[in-house]
């Protein structure tokens, strides 16, 4: 297994556990996630709705709503800063400056009573030592960077379309050249043509500013397009992690295989997609053993006994699947 040099890491998350403690029970949202992301690299977090991707991203900025969210365990180091033990004031200095976040739904993530220009210039004025006029000037520049004419500075969110609003959110997130960008399904709420535009804008800007990025999505196409590394998340755990080539071309985990199986493929002629049977386990009542075992066609009674640990297949690639303890175990999906 390969340990990355801590000095090269913009983000170092170890054994993160986050629960939501509600009256109806404890939701085990994140159950021991590790992320090591190097400066300038892009990591894709892929998984179903409710698998804990967003909670993980929110925890990087300590934005997990509390109550009911409780970070039970783990450490988060962002650019060498111990996020878990940072005082509120320093945390505010990190947010939007060192790392910033793009949210899923642009329709609701802008404040309806402030102009878009003011919302962008606010983040600049907060983090950069400059006058209001300079901040406004730079906010105007950012609007142009994301392809919105500067003249629309004084308009309100309701005067923009969904795609335009997401551009504003992106401009806001990038305004202070963050070293890490957390993009939480930035294109899910947009229609397909706009998705492509927004994605292009983001890719271009990431290259321009050299930010590292965590791209949260359930769209494997987006992962393939923008990511260097991929973590496949299931029930709050990373079940397979590796480089893009590792995960896409040398798929090992049965769940990842299932994800690819539920994609339409233009080259393979088949009548039906093969979705993964069953549902995600109830996060208030996770199985004792491997969480994917109840839906896994390779599962043995052994799988239900204990949670599988990390099994390193190469320097960059690991899976959590106890079947790989058997020397000759193979999943059906062929290496590409």
């Amino acid at each position: 297994m390969a340990q990355k040099n801590p000095k090269d890491l913009i983000l170092d998350i170890k054994d993160l556990v986050i629960h939501y403690e509600t009256d109806d029970g404890t939701v085990e949202a994140v159950n021991g996630i590790d992320i090591q992301l190097e400066y300038g690299k892009t990591l894709g977090l892929v998984g179903e709705t409710g698998s804990g991707k967003t909670t993980t991203a929110l925890s990087v900025l300590r934005l997990v709503p509390d109550p009911p969210g409780v970070i039970k365990n783990g450490s988060i180091f962002l650019d060498g800063k111990d996020i878990m033990n940072l005082p509120q004031k320093e945390l505010e200095a990190v947010r939007g400056h060192l790392a910033s976040m793009i949210f899923q739904d642009p329709m609701t993530s802008l404040n309806p009573v402030f102009t878009v220009g003011d919302q962008i210039s606010e983040v600049i004025a907060l983090h950069e030592n400059c006058s209001k006029a300079e901040a406004d000037q730079k906010a105007g520049d950012m609007l142009e960077v994301v392809g919105i004419p500067r003249e629309r500075f004084g308009e309100y969110p309701h005067q923009f379309s969904g795609g335009m609003k997401q551009r504003v959110v992106i401009a806001m997130a990038l305004a202070c050249n963050p070293k890490l960008l957390l993009a939480d399904e930035p294109t899910t709420a947009l229609d397909v043509t706009i998705q492509a535009q927004v994605l292009e804008t983001m890719k271009g800007l990431r290259e321009k500013y050299g930010s590292a990025m965590i791209m949260i999505t359930h769209d494997l196409g987006i992962i393939a397009e923008v990511c260097d590394e991929v973590s496949v998340v299931y029930a709050g755990q990373i079940v397979e992690h590796g480089t893009l080539v590792d995960v896409f071309n040398h798929t090992r985990h049965p769940y990842t295989e299932g994800l690819f199986g539920s994609l339409p493929n233009i080259e393979i002629k088949r009548n039906r997609l093969s979705p993964i049977p069953g549902l995600m386990p109830d996060p208030t009542d996770l199985p004792k053993g491997c969480c994917f075992a109840p839906r896994c066609k390779y599962a043995t009674p052994e799988c239900e006994k204990a949670r599988p640990g990390k099994k390193w297949l190469s320097d960059t690639h690991y899976v959590r699947c106890s079947r790989y303890d058997e020397p000759n175990f193979k999943i059906e999906r062929e290496d590409q």
């Binding site: 709503p65 505010e92 947010r95 910033s100 949210f103 404040n111 005067q159």
Partner: protein
């Protein structure tokens, strides 16, 4: 925007006609003979009849009402049946007292309600929130006149600190303003809290936090302004009804305001004075509501866009 204001002012006319019509008929249906009351106990039937004819009370109610409205449209509210002096005299002397009291009361109410409502919402289910909400519930449930009487017993009769009634300078404002203000504060507090609770969970509040906006700015700038519409509505309604005269509280504190004048006039069946007071009440109430609606446009740009249509 000015077209919208004009439209709203024109709409005031049917409202006024409706209100005066209702009040006029209700008063005419109430028992008691105005002419007999005015003529005095010793008056004979002929004198009463003569007075009735002089006042036009022998005509059908609908005719009386039509005559009244014709005069009202020319700005003439008639003379008080009781004093014989123009109704406007009484209004001019009473309204400033009511307005000043209304101003101080609403200031007390907002001063208490906004901070408590906001803090309760940001610290939901905390000790502060629970205590605050119970106190607010008690405040809503406490009748104003009772609170007023209790304060008079304590601060005027027992301690002798404050005057029990009338308007004798600033110290006279304290008890009535607190009586009215706390009652209204209770309602505004609950309104602020529930409105803030809704907003504080909104996505754009999370966005503001993610930008690194300090928490107090998140609450007082980003959240409060969005939560303000229902709060301003409540404040406006309360202020409007205070301007119309808080009848019970003004009576308890013998406050020389519109509310008490209305109560006195109803007792003596002084129809013209009652109507005059109610016309003033209707106009001020509608104007305050209009002001609130205009205020919306400054709070929320989406509403401003609607007004322009």
């Amino acid at each position: 925007m000015s077209r919208y204001v004009l439209k709203r002012l024109v709409m005031l006319i049917p409202v006024l006609i409706g209100v005066t019509f209702l009040v006029y008929f209700i008063i005419s249906l109430s028992p008691g003979d105005t002419a007999a009351m005015l003529a005095g106990e010793d008056a004979d039937a002929a004198t009463i009849e003569a007075l009735r004819h002089e006042l036009g009370l022998d005509q059908p109610v609908i005719v009386q009402y039509a005559k009244y409205m014709l005069n009202l449209l020319q700005g003439d509210m008639g003379n008080s049946y009781k004093t014989g002096r123009p109704v406007t005299n009484m209004i001019v002397s009473c309204f400033p007292n009511t307005a000043k009291l209304a101003f101080w009361s609403i200031l007390v109410a907002v001063g208490i309600a906004l901070p408590i409502g906001v803090i309760s919402a940001t610290k939901q289910y905390s000790m502060f929130d629970n205590v605050g909400m119970v106190v607010a519930l008690i405040g809503v449930a406490t009748p104003n006149f009772w609170l007023g009487l209790m304060m008079i017993i304590l601060f005027s009769l027992n301690l002798g600190w404050l005057p029990s009634g009338g308007n004798k300078g600033w110290s006279s404002y304290i008890m009535p303003a607190i009586t009215l203000g706390t009652g209204d504060a209770a309602l505004i507090t609950r309104m602020t809290r529930s409105s803030m609770l809704e907003v504080i969970r909104a996505d754009y509040i999370r966005t503001a936090r993610a930008k690194g906006v300090p928490e107090n700015k998140v609450v007082y700038q980003h959240a409060l302004r969005n939560a303000l519409i229902p709060v301003v509505t409540a404040i406006g309604l309360q202020f409007g009804s205070l301007l119309g005269g808080a009848t019970l509280t003004e009576t308890v504190f013998a406050w020389p305001g519109i509310g008490r004048s209305t109560v006195d006039s109803i007792k003596t069946k002084d129809t013209t004075q009652v109507l005059g007071n109610i016309v003033v009440l209707t106009i001020t109430f509608s104007c305050v509501n209009l002001l609130v609606d205009i205020l919306y446009a400054f709070i929320d740009p989406r509403i401003k866009a609607q007004y322009k249509k």
